[in-house]
Symmetry: C2
Subunit: 212 residues, 2 copies
DNA sequence: TCTTAGCTGTTAATTTTTTCACAGCGTGAA
DNA sequence: TTCACGCTGTGAAAAAATTAACAGCTAAGA
């Protein structure tokens, strides 16, 4: 079972699509249909699903609820994952607000910030502590993963503390590449970079359209 | 000049790293050093930079300010890009707050939302209009790109309106894949998916650590 | 001036990812 | 029961991305 990052990405997306369909009462789906919804190819869907072990039926395609169950098992969603968020700026608070109401498998159990105005109170139901208390609190909370929304300058320092406290996965929004030991997984979300990609390719597409 | 998405991503990241270094007074950099900062390999850096046309010096590596200038030209940052944001929820407002103060090349000239409480006023200096006025406003503003932070249910509808108004690039935060005509570029940022990746791989890494 | 160390630019090899293509199967119809 | 359609699962081919390898160059030192 060696699934690439790309495959995991897509499997996660399939899971979301299937949840939506399941809620709409749809029962079966073909690789072709799932591919259309997930914006990839049917072959990709079939190949990706191989890693989950679930097999479809040549006549009816995949049974949505069973496939979803397989994906849940694959992603090992037994219990909720304990997460903390470091940086309670506007982005951090937006993320808390986003994950709080949803019954997701991620429990954001604490936020940390260096701004005294933000600490010592609840942010959307999540307690916010001062960054100086972080190491101590992490010791108690034992989070699995962390979301980092601090400025670029402090991201590396924060990551180091997180790793020392046993965090093995980081979702990093700061536009720097964190240096972490092997066996700590870092995923970066860099909005500026993504915007730049949009700017670049949209212009390229536009020019192609004008020329061709 | 056929740069892949991956290459564009990295070039954008190099640009950011170089800006930072430039501000610190560093003048030259080797591919090896840039690679370390951008978390990739030296060969990758050299290969990526080929597309910009800028050539380094075997003795001193790359001149940072000149390379940055080449990247600016490559990304064609003559003037600012006109952007709008659709959806002024917590994420949308966080993004406005993020891009406003920075002197970036992205001018977010308007926000749109369906919630009357948010419309008809400024959000962090950006005017927020009701979504019903969007088509009309887009006609005047002629934005190049759009950021979409509406719920998944309305994202497709919004995208359609944007495309009709001539937007050729969309940065989509909703967890659906938008159907747009060819020649419109869509980049997706899906926080839940990214978190799921972190959860999956961090666990895998942890298990590998325990077993090996 | 000549030598040398160590870099860049670029081609070639390798690895990874995607796509193709089709055997095999389950179902519904005859 | 038998047939045929159209799907899945998967090995093989193709394409894309990464890495290795090295010729060629530049500047510093002898």
């Amino acid at each position: 079972m060696n699934a690439s990052r790309k495959t995991i990405e897509r499997l996660s997306h399939y899971r979301m699509v299937l949840s939506r369909l399941s809620g709409q009462g749809v029962q079966n789906i073909y690789s072709r249909e799932l591919a259309a919804l997930a914006d990839c190819t049917p072959a990709q869907v079939r190949r990706d699903l191989m890693v989950t072990g679930y097999e479809g039926n040549p006549k009816h395609g995949y049974n949505i609820s069973e496939l979803k169950k397989s994906l849940d098992v694959f992603f090992d969603f037994k219990g909720n994952l304990v997460a903390v968020i470091v940086g309670a700026g506007s982005l951090g608070r937006a993320l808390i607000a986003y994950f709080m109401p949803k019954k997701t498998m991620y429990d954001i159990v604490a936020a940390f910030d260096s701004d005294m105005n933000k600490t010592g109170r609840l942010i959307n139901g999540t307690p916010c502590f001062h960054i100086n208390e972080m190491v101590e609190k992490l010791h108690d909370l034992k989070p699995d993963i962390a979301l980092v929304t601090v400025p670029a300058e402090s991201a590396q320092e924060v990551a180091l503390k997180l790793v020392k406290s046993g965090v093995s996965g980081i979702l990093n929004f700061a536009p720097v590449r964190l240096k972490v030991p092997e066996k700590v997984y870092v995923e970066n979300i860099d909005v500026t970079m993504s915007l730049e990609k949009v700017a670049f390719f949209s212009r390229q597409y536009r020019e192609e359209k004008n020329n061709g």
